[in-house]
């Protein structure tokens, strides 16, 4: 039973939200990107979270209760497989034979809302981490008259 288990769990949350913010920023920055190294327009990316056991394998026997505490991990950044938006723009250098340009299927509003959610989750994890840290600091003061 360690103070730092709570802080490790919270820091995993912070790291996961940070990855998500990076992905969202990348999406927003490339909302009009028509050329990528792989060819074709930029494909929207999304993070996939997964809850993994917070304890190491050796410590699992130390758990006092049946349910394992879970930390969060980003297991995958997967690219959106939706079809790109076709925009009529014959003057564009990447227009196809019909004059349509394949633009990334990214909705700016959606990405902004996701960013707000990610920020809020990041702040919540920060509060949780500070709470655990504050409890540890208070415990050090026990007996100090």
């Amino acid at each position: 039973m360690s103070f730092f288990k709570a802080m490790n769990i919270s820091s995993s949350g912070l790291a996961a939200q940070r990855v998500r913010m990076n992905v969202l920023s990348s999406n927003l920055a490339n909302v009009n990107t028509t050329r990528t190294p792989e060819g074709g327009p930029y494909k929207r990316e999304d993070v996939v979270f997964s809850a993994t056991n917070a304890s190491d394998f050796e410590n699992m026997l130390d758990e006092d209760y049946g349910t394992e505490l879970k930390k969060v991990q980003v297991v995958d950044i997967h690219k959106d497989t939706k079809a790109p938006r076709m925009v009529l723009d014959p003057a564009h250098p990447d227009a196809n034979a019909d004059g349509y340009v394949a633009m990334p299927n990214i909705q700016t509003m959606t990405e902004m809302v996701n960013m707000i959610a990610a920020t809020r989750a990041f702040e919540a994890n920060t509060t949780a981490l500070n709470s655990a840290k504050s409890m540890a600091s208070t415990a050090i003061e026990i007996g100090r008259a």
Binding site: D64, T67, L69, K70, A124, S134, A145
Partner: protein, 145 residues
């Protein structure tokens, strides 16, 4: 929790406070885990209860015997063992609303629970410090005159 001179210094109320500190720390772990996984698909929020068990251990008014009572009849109703250990309850929080992805964490509820937990942790530490301070004062000033 030995007997003898040191055992006579702390009352049952003091051991209840020490137990409460442990329990509140575990609760902090659970809350942090919920907050870190607030966006993980399929994650179900956990709750951690110990109040009832600890209250069963706290004894009646004017009860001043130490925690490890030789008579097991002092601990009835299945909430606590004869040697003073309690079994906390880890459970899935019941929730009316489940998110689209199967996540049941309510971040605001977790924040409120975290604030309460931290404040009561600090208050309990403060009360333990007061008791220790009283003992120190008695030891320092009781031999004069």
């Amino acid at each position: 929790m030995s007997g003898g001179l040191i055992g006579g210094l702390f009352t049952r109320g003091d051991y209840v406070k020490m137990g409460a500190l442990n329990q509140r720390l575990e609760r902090q772990h659970v809350i942090n885990s919920n907050v870190a996984n607030a966006e993980t698909p399929g994650y179900r929020a956990l709750g951690y209860d110990f109040e009832e068990q600890l209250q069963a251990l706290s004894g009646s008014e004017g009860d001043n015997i130490p925690m490890q009572a030789s008579d097991p009849r002092h601990y009835i109703n299945g909430m606590a063992d004869a040697d003073g250990t309690i079994t906390p309850e880890v459970y899935l929080r019941p929730t009316e609303s489940v998110g689209q992805d199967g996540n049941t964490v309510d971040v605001d509820q977790e924040m409120a629970a975290m604030a309460e937990n931290q404040i009561l942790y600090k208050a309990t530490v403060e009360l333990i410090n007061k008791k220790i301070g009283t003992l120190k004062y008695a030891i320092a000033n009781g031999g004069n005159g």
